[in-house]
């Protein structure tokens, strides 16, 4: 199960990286329309699904509270991505018109994206360490 956890954690990193690429697709497509972001929007759901699977795998691998929590962190941060857009809209931003505070709030989306990538990479490192521990034979393996 711990090897599966490495695979699912790797998948999370790959999907998050793809999401960055799709943000590029959205940002650079011309003419710029809301449809340009369709792939990035679908990507958000893909990230959530992969992270959910990763959490379940981490729990089944008996990875321990902190590692499971780290596996879950990207999910919370992805929700925050939606919340940032909602905040910006509530402050008066719209698809057509976003300047001043609504713009500065929603721009945090990019930094939070980096945080998601960071959490995903840390999750992968955790999973690999766990798998390495399993190979050398940790006490928990004998009891499991």
């Amino acid at each position: 199960m711990r090897k599966v956890f490495v695979v699912s954690s790797t998948l999370v990193v790959i999907v998050v990286l793809t999401q960055f690429y799709l943000a590029g697709v959205g940002g650079f497509s011309r003419p710029a329309t809301t449809d340009s972001w369709t792939a990035h929007r679908a990507g958000a759901l893909a990230v959530m699904v992969v992270v959910l699977i990763d959490i379940v795998v981490a729990a089944l691998a008996r990875a321990g509270g902190r590692i499971v929590a780290f596996a879950a962190l990207p999910l919370g941060l992805v929700v925050l991505q939606f919340v940032l857009v909602a905040l910006s809209n509530a402050l008066g931003g719209s698809q057509d018109d976003r300047t001043g505070l609504p713009l500065y709030v929603v721009a945090l989306h990019v930094l939070n994206g980096l945080a998601i990538l960071g959490a995903a990479v840390t999750g992968l490192r955790n999973a690999r360490r766990l798998a390495a521990g399993a190979v050398t034979g940790s006490p928990r393996i004998h009891t499991a």
């Binding site: 449809d35 509270g65 929590a69 929700v79 509530a90 402050l91 698809q95």
Partner: protein, 600 residues
């Protein structure tokens, strides 16, 4: 209110993060500060929820389900901290779960709180508790497997159930068909032909727009008729592969002329035609647009303006129709121009500017250089409008129309949209007058009150607008909902002819929703519980801002099946569409995969 909604969301995210962190950090130096912060964030959120609750019960149930037990857990943890002891682990786990569940309630359940929603959000916690308590390994596995199967089954059922069928007959049955509720069949007094075709249009600035047009122009032709005219409009479709219809936005035509694909007609296919007929009885400012794939079609240019002049001789007046439109590429035009236009108007001449928002978001319009009045909104004259100056700006909601009236002064008058001083329309001679910082006109307090026609109400409906995770045609997404559902699952508002119908519209979300009812004008009764104190407001599009509660009423005097939807058309496409249906009226038209119709 939108600030309170923002605070609520922010505190919920922050407290969820803090509670989730408080549990693993319990035995570290950071444990106590994080726990204190979590308790404080929770207490702060209680205050915000109380403020939200004052706006109406609709904002509360989903919040209370998690906020009440979370507050109890926070109190227990807080007491432990003040006694310099560590909070018990079960308390921290429960608090972390509740804090995250609160977010899930907000994103998935909304209003009303349903049993299914409660199970979906709180069920996993109950299952985890059960698995933890069970001794036998097989029992644990059985419980987990059962929960997983139940979750999967619920998800698949919801996804499959949301898929549009080949043909969805909303309103089949016995009764009068909307296809028979048409305009008069006698010879018209005014006839127009509108041909939908693709064209690359060059704007005055030199920019080009790859557009779908009526008659090759942006906007489409201005249709100007006189009160009493029998208007005939022949629609031809020469687009390569898209259907088209004509919807008369704000003009309350018979149902069969309303131009909604899949409800009042089939979309006109490439090469096809459709003839619309109606009697122009209500003088005022209106517009028309395609209601097939409307979110794409309107943005790309399938729109134009309709003006009904009063009958009889008119005084010499400069009457300008100024639709504000934003194309996909971000170009905004006022009238047909994307740059500063000037127009000579002699001093002393009465001027009427018909401002129309044909886009998806509200525009802020400012008029400087002269006192002016807003003489009409949504094609209905206001009672006793008082003069305004450049220090008042007008918030023109998507789909809405304001008629601005003034007498031309000696100097120039400038009409500015969204603060772009170098663009807009300059009337008269001389330098453009400056625009001071303005405050927005509150239309519910503008003009003189007059008694309304409604005494009692035969029907009373509530529409709670929100943004929730829902399946849209089989695909999960962050959709726009009414009463927790998306189109086509939102229950129609059923009315009988002659009913006085009162509707309360609540916006729980953080986007504004310009709600547009077809076929009727609604009288605004109150906003946020405060009755309208100015002129009676008869609107067809009213902008419900985040956290607002509008109460409106209309007389069911135009039998048919009518769309009631958000005129931020991407919101409509993402679910925010319902029908107002008269009992005994049916429709032979349908939406679905094997029909030509996609109203949004």
């Amino acid at each position: 209110m939108s600030v309170v909604l923002v605070l609520d969301l922010l505190l919920m995210v922050v407290s969820a993060g803090l509670w989730v962190a408080a549990w693993p950090l319990r035995d570290t130096r950071a444990g106590t500060p994080v726990l204190i912060a979590a308790v404080l964030a929770t207490v702060a959120r209680v205050a915000v929820v109380v403020v939200l609750g004052r706006a109406g019960w609709w904002f509360l149930p989903d919040r209370l389900v998690t906020a009440v037990p979370l507050t109890l857990a926070a109190v227990v943890a807080g007491i432990a901290v003040t006694r310099r002891r560590k909070a018990a682990v079960p308390v921290l786990i429960i608090a972390a779960y509740l804090a995250v569940a609160g977010l899930a309630m907000q994103l998935v359940v909304g209003y009303p709180v349903t049993a299914g929603g409660l199970v979906a959000v709180l069920g996993p916690g109950a299952v985890a508790l059960l698995v933890w308590r069970l001794r036998a390994r097989t029992a644990r596995i059985a419980v987990m497997a059962a929960a997983a199967v139940a979750l999967l089954a619920a998800g698949v059922t919801a996804a499959a159930g949301s898929r549009l069928p080949d043909r969805l007959d909303h309103h089949a049955g016995h009764g009068v068909s909307v296809a028979d509720l048409r305009g008069p069949d006698r010879p018209p007094t005014r006839s127009f032909t509108l041909t939908a075709r693709a064209a690359v249009v060059t704007l005055p600035s030199g920019k080009t727009v790859d557009a779908w047009t009526f008659n090759g122009s942006l906007p489409g032709p201005e249709l100007r008729v006189t009160r009493g005219d029998l208007v005939e409009v022949i629609l031809r479709n020469e687009l390569p592969d898209t259907g088209v219809t004509l919807h008369w936005h704000g003009y309350d035509v018979p149902a069969g002329e309303d131009g909604v694909a899949g409800v009042t007609q089939d979309a006109v296919p490439p090469g096809g035609t459709f003839t619309y007929r109606f009697v122009a009885e209500d003088a005022g400012t209106y517009w028309y647009h395609s209601h097939e794939l409307s979110s794409t079609a309107v943005r790309r240019g399938l729109y134009g303006t309709l003006v009904v002049d009063p009958a009889g001789a008119r005084p010499a007046e400069t009457d300008l129709v100024l639709p504000v439109h934003r194309f996909g590429g971000g170009v905004t035009v006022l009238g047909g121009s994307d740059r500063r236009e000037t127009r000579d108007v002699p001093a002393g001449r009465p001027v009427r500017l018909r401002l129309i928002n044909t886009g998806n978001n509200a525009h802020r319009v400012a008029v400087s250089g002269t006192p002016y009045t807003v003489g009409a909104i949504d094609g209905r004259d206001l009672n006793g409008p008082t003069p305004l100056t450049a220090e008042t700006t007008l918030r023109l909601p998507a789909g809405g129309r304001y008629d601005v009236l003034f007498t031309m002064p000696a100097g120039a008058v400038h009409v500015m949209v969204d603060g772009r001083e170098s663009e807009g329309l300059l009337l008269g001679a001389g330098a453009a007058p400056p625009h001071p910082d303005g405050t927005e006109l509150d239309i519910t307090r503008y003009g003189r009150p007059a008694p309304g026609p409604f005494g009692r109400y035969d029907k009373d409906y509530t529409l709670v607008l929100d943004r929730l995770i829902r399946f849209l045609d089989g695909v999960p997404g962050y959709a726009y909902t009414v009463n927790g559902d998306v189109y086509p699952d939102i229950a129609p508002l059923m009315v009988d002819e002659g009913d006085a119908v009162r509707t309360t519209v609540v916006n729980r979300g953080t986007d504004s929703h310009p709600m547009h009812l077809h076929g009727h004008h609604v009288l605004v009764l109150s906003r946020n519980g405060r009755p309208v104190s100015g002129s009676p407001l008869w609107l067809d599009t009213f902008d419900v801002l985040p956290g607002e509660v509008w109460q409106v009423a209309f007389r069911a005097d135009n039998p048919g099946i009518w769309l009631d939807h958000c005129h931020n058309l991407p919101h409509a496409r993402q679910g925010m569409v319902l029908h107002v249906a008269y009992r005994g009226v049916t429709s032979p038209f349908a939406v679905g995969r094997r029909t030509p119709n996609h109203p949004e």
